[in-house]
Amino acid sequence: MDLSLETRHEDGHTIIEVGGEIDVYTAPKLRDKITELVGNGDYNLVIDMEKVDFLDSTGLGVLVGGLKKVRAHDGSMRLICNQERLLKIFRITGLAKVFAIHGSQADALAER
């Protein structure tokens, strides 16, 4: 499955709904999308990963890069992820402590 990216704005945040596989082949598409949004002044991003089937370290790298980009503008990046197989990857790499990971869009948008 390829990568799908849908973007919308809600409650002062830009939500990117990601679907499919984030790997060494598709991760550049996500990186380009984040770069484009930050370039347009969207500094508060929510990455919804509920429909992500696969994530490797290339994908993690893109997320870390995105976090650094928005923080450079005093922005934020929140992740939505409730799949144990993906959460395990964040824990193993120590990134569970780096990202704000929420179980739903409502939780992610509720945090101030």
Binding site: D23, V24, Y25, F54, D56, S57, V64, I92
Partner: protein, 136 residues
């Protein structure tokens, strides 16, 4: 045929060009091999992730470097354990360049954290990643 005999006869080798688009194909093969050994989907997922990760690291993201390199070869064998070996010519950086997006993330952290039996062999001409899992 006894189950053990079937396992001893199971071995698959896949050779792919250094094209990131092909890594997914290897993941599918790895999942199929793992599923032959176990119905535990958590195990299958771990093998799929680990083999895909190893291939992604050896395929690399630098297209100029890829163009000058040979294929990435993956062999999977079901013996006493599921044994996987991923080999490519050239050496792989064990740390990220300063410009990398994964600045600050050790590139092998995921594989080391995921697999108890994981080893990297680097020499002047070749990089080999070996990993194995016990079979229940």
């Amino acid at each position: 045929m006894p189950a053990g005999a079937a396992r001893a006869a199971t071995g698959i080798s896949v050779s792919i060009a250094r094209d990131p688009a092909l890594v997914r194909t290897v993941r599918l093969v790895a999942a199929a091999v793992a599923r032959r050994a176990s119905q535990d989907e958590e195990f299958v997922e771990e093998v799929r992730l680990a083999v895909g990760e190893a291939c992604a690291l050896l395929v690399g993201q630098d297209s100029d470097a890829r163009a000058q390199s040979g294929p990435v070869e993956v062999s999977m064998r079901l013996e006493d354990r599921l044994r996987v070996r991923v080999v490519a010519s050239g050496t792989v950086a064990v740390s990220d360049p300063p410009t990398s997006d994964i600045d600050g993330v050790e590139p092998w952290a995921l594989l080391r954290g995921l697999i108890d039996d994981f080893d990297i062999t680097l020499d002047e001409h070749l990089t080999a990643l070996t990993m194995s899992w016990p079979l229940s």
